[in-house]
Symmetry: C2
Subunit: 381 residues, 2 copies
Amino acid sequence: MIPFNKPFIIGNELKYIEQAVLSGKISGDGLFTKKCHSFFEKKYGFQKVLLTTSCTDALEMAAILCDLKPGDEVIVPSYTFVSSANAFALRGAKIVFADSYEDNPNVDPQSIASLITTKTKVIVPVHYAGVACDMEAIMKLAGDHNLFVVEDAAQAIDSYYIFADGTRKALGSIGHFATFSFHETKNIIAGEGGMLVINDSSFNERAEIIREKGTNRSAFFRGEINKYGWVDIGSSFLPSEIISAFLYGQLEHLDEIQGKRISIWNRYLEGLKEIVSQGKVSSPIIPTYGDNNAHMFYIVCQSIEERNQLIAHLKNKDIHSVFHYLSLNKSEYFLKNNVEIDIPFSDKFTDRLLRLPFYFELSESDQNLIINEILQFYESK
Amino acid sequence: MIPFNKPFIIGNELKYIEQAVLSGKISGDGLFTKKCHSFFEKKYGFQKVLLTTSCTDALEMAAILCDLKPGDEVIVPSYTFVSSANAFALRGAKIVFADSYEDNPNVDPQSIASLITTKTKVIVPVHYAGVACDMEAIMKLAGDHNLFVVEDAAQAIDSYYIFADGTRKALGSIGHFATFSFHETKNIIAGEGGMLVINDSSFNERAEIIREKGTNRSAFFRGEINKYGWVDIGSSFLPSEIISAFLYGQLEHLDEIQGKRISIWNRYLEGLKEIVSQGKVSSPIIPTYGDNNAHMFYIVCQSIEERNQLIAHLKNKDIHSVFHYLSLNKSEYFLKNNVEIDIPFSDKFTDRLLRLPFYFELSESDQNLIINEILQFYESK
């Protein structure tokens, strides 16, 4: 059986957990959490990083920091994970769904532009498969209309945006806030885990308070105040040091992990190029302003029926491939309070996109097997 | 230096994390999460258990399940951790603070009774130091007024309530919901971690949905539905399997941990009995309906000045003792929207309660040192 995903230990993950226990602190914000914060801030130029228990929790922190009031509107792609929308729905915001490009699951800035009203407060671009959204166009819209931008960079660690002038900036360093995931399916993992990036320092203090259950405990531990108390709403967004220690063990091998993933990604592209050039399937689009962090390899089939046949064909050969999001504008929750509208390209990827097995320990021989089974499926098409 | 708290590894915590990785699943709800759920359900007669990333998150789940509307009132002790109140404030509820007993930090049912109005929806008894609140009185009030009871059992693992007829029931199995913590300061630890207990099975399905980001993914994985989607509000409340594996490693040694803690607790009581009988300090009250899970040993001093002198005296001898909660009704956050009122017994424990070092690996010689320093401090008083 070739699974869709497989977690891995690559270095000192377990040793660091033991070290954390011996250091006398495994609740949040210990030594390894601080090491992770520094690592990300230095490597990607993030103004401030705060680890969280999940990307969902980081999105919820961003939603609180945007200070949403009921009735405020938040523009989110329809083709995304539930949490990109739910975090803002929890604050009472009205979710407005934008469409993808025809040939790329990422949100189309023209669709965003058409949805902006006087009530719009936040845009949430989601860098699908770790590939950049058109951040220059989106930041321009945000600037023109005085909106917050929260980059949902769950899949986008170690990926970059290339500006028109050639400058490269890490995804997650461009919007006001960004959120990342370390779920076991991501490039760098901690089982469940995430982080919030804050690129505007005026939010640093409130972010620390919200993350510590609405208390000014962080300032207390730095000796800035002599007792701490309840000063704001918040939650327990900070992860156990056990999680941070595991994560730091992975971070020390980031380059090795990324090198391996890029070679897997390229092997899929090379192996499937024949059926792509024949127009039988589409491969991922990497725009000129985007980079490839090799988070995911997907193909887009001709129809939902064909895609489901391919899933069944591969399953029959013990290969686990999986479809992805279902258009959120058609979800039961959204339709409770909204009329059904048509968001065609989101529906296209809902129906036709298929993700192939992709993990650090995927062997070349297993990958060749997957490629050959796909080619065989398409021989008769 | 004798710290106030010290985390520990007692058995297979690290081995189980490795096993979880090798099993191919370290995101939430894997093998070890299920083992923890079964353990708690069997041992304590909880109808259903769901691990969470923290006790705070479990409280937030309970608040969502109580379906609070803005304006609903929730009665919470003033002498408790911020999250007992904040979780309900996040849902827009009005927090109403009740007082402790004069001689016991636990909430007094008479104080609760005096605060019930037609808008009251929930009572949150907090079992301070793992010692039972008067659950028969509280459940009677809840029954008479049709209220939910959420037991904040953060500190109360392996502690029992003894009914008038002699029946024993685990704390957390009596209210509609209960929440526990596995923070590093607790008896059983995972750094940060928690669980929600649901004692009314009509809430099981919605609880699973809320915990899985508002999706019906749990039913999908059980094969009850053929695709999952967004059906409700929710968050990512489930912990990484790395956390559950660590926790399960601890659970296998629960009896050993509890035995050790009870002997530490009894040694404090024995060692300090002279100054207690002289009326210089008070020791913890264990009511006839309550049990002692040896979560904490505290003393109550004569005044805040004396307590702070004792902290300084012990610190001077490299012993780290700490005070505890600050009355929440006097917090900056609460006073933004409420007038200041007097809650005298909560203030008493805010000012005069002192927690002594307490952890699994505390040695007898270190403990004797602590006891002797306290006796010496009180010799001249």
